[in-house]
Amino acid sequence: MTYIVALWGILIRESLRFLSQRERLLSALLRPMLWLVIFASGFRAALGVAITPPYETYITYEVYILPGLIGMVQLFNGMQTSLSMVYDRETGSMRALLVSPLPRWWLLFCKLLAGALVSLVQVYAFLLAALAFGVAVPAWGYLAAAPVLLLTGLMLGAAGLFLSSVIRQLENFAGVMNFVIFPAFFLSSALYPLWKIAESNPLLAELAGWNPFTQAVEAIRFALYLQADWPALAGVAGSLLAFAALAVWGYDPARGLIRRKVME
């Protein structure tokens, strides 16, 4: 019961923080909408997409990049979680969390789940906006994708959580943009299919295939069309476990990185 109470408390706290930061929701919507409305329109003619699973017919470029942009929303939200953890650490409020009698892994899981649920809200707000612009998926796909979106949100949140144990200061967050977000996004199938990358550079396509973000995007893409991409789902689950384990290690006072820099 104690565990559930703490989980509920953290969920409420994170929800209130999210609701008080209207610009966060706005930017979470605006960023992918710019890509969808402006970038995709511009490249629509230049980048044709052949018939490839899970699609059963030719699709427009906007439809192709929709799962990638959903992934982008979750990727940025995961990094926002990381940013807020670093901020909490710098302002001191992280200590209030870490001196709780509950195990640290549970506290981190609560933060992770709260972040993933926030990302779900953002994703569905984006899907609604995309629908308004005529970019749609099968009706049941919206529902079928929910558990996959939760899984991908947890995985990208866990990556953010691990990063927050590595980043020393808030100022270093710009480096995360350059060294994590951009490579993860561009070296993936978010904007172009892997076979298209392979045509010009097989090595890049191989690297992109191993990218956890690619696996997240593909898992979302298939779920939206009521199919399961099991290898991608397994990849996402494996990455989630790896990042979560690294985050728990990072926040362990005896072994982790946090000990060297957090509390001075």
Binding site: G92, P101, P103
Partner: protein, 240 residues
């Protein structure tokens, strides 16, 4: 009398070398123990060890009979902490800050509502309950931190330079409040400070210097030992 906090042979080292070595101290229930030391003596490092933010390289910490290393959950449940740097969630209301802290202790529902109401009442914050913590004065923020640290009725309260940044009247009011709680509710208090005027003759004092305990005893006994008439003079002699 039962010990609220017991520290034995505690040690910690940074990469650069030892920060704390062989620290022994005891905080009895209902007693005020002042952890006195100049800046850089190791007070905050010790607080981080007592709250499990750091893991010691040697020694033990026992909180209300629970060893911190072996049973961190029950031990931390008996601990309330006010850190030197504020740890409030400034965007949340005063009431939410208290409720959040209680939730992290696993306390919710009616029990939490009663605890929040009592804490607000005890610290004179009822009228500010709905305001964001950011809107409070420095003194009231500190009060809220103490209220939050005590809301789950811990056996020991650790305050690390809790009066830093407060004006003199706020400082005195906060200290008087903590002393009253210590006396009336039997909470053992470890009060880390470098300010001599926060010490009373009956307080237990642990004098920390360069990571080691230089002297321990009641303030009155320490002054008598070195023939000093006030704590400042005693501190000067003891840290020579």
């Amino acid at each position: 009398m039962t010990n609220a906090l017991e520290v034995r042979a505690l040690g910690y080292r940074y990469r650069a070398g030892f920060a704390l070595e062989g620290i022994d101290l005891v905080v009895e229930q209902g007693r005020m123990t002042v952890l006195l030391g100049p800046n850089g003596a190791g007070k905050s490092t010790l607080v981080n060890l007592l709250t499990r933010l750091y893991a010691p390289v040697s020694g033990t910490v026992t909180i209300a009979s629970h060893p911190l290393a072996e049973r961190p959950g029950p031990a931390l449940a008996k601990l309330g902490v006010v850190f030197q740097q504020t740890t409030l969630d400034l965007d949340l209301s005063v009431r939410r800050n208290l409720a959040y802290a209680l939730a992290l202790q696993g306390i919710a529902g009616r029990r939490a509502a009663i605890a929040v109401a009592e804490a607000l009442d005890r610290f004179g914050l009822t009228e500010s309950a709905g305001r964001p913590a950011r809107a409070l004065s420095g003194g009231n923020r500190r009060k809220l931190e103490v209220a939050r640290a005590l809301a789950h009725l811990p056996a020991v309260l650790i305050c690390d330079e809790a009066t830093v940044g407060l004006d003199l009247p706020s400082r005195r009011a906060l200290l008087a409040h903590v002393r009253t709680l210590c006396r009336d509710q039997g909470v053992g208090v470890l009060w880390a400070t470098h300010l001599m005027d926060e010490i009373e003759p009956a307080d237990d004092v642990v004098l920390l210097q360069r990571g080691q305990v230089r002297a321990a005893g009641t303030a009155a006994a320490l002054m008598e030992r070195v023939g000093a008439t006030d704590m400042e003079a005693a501190f000067g002699v003891l840290t020579l």
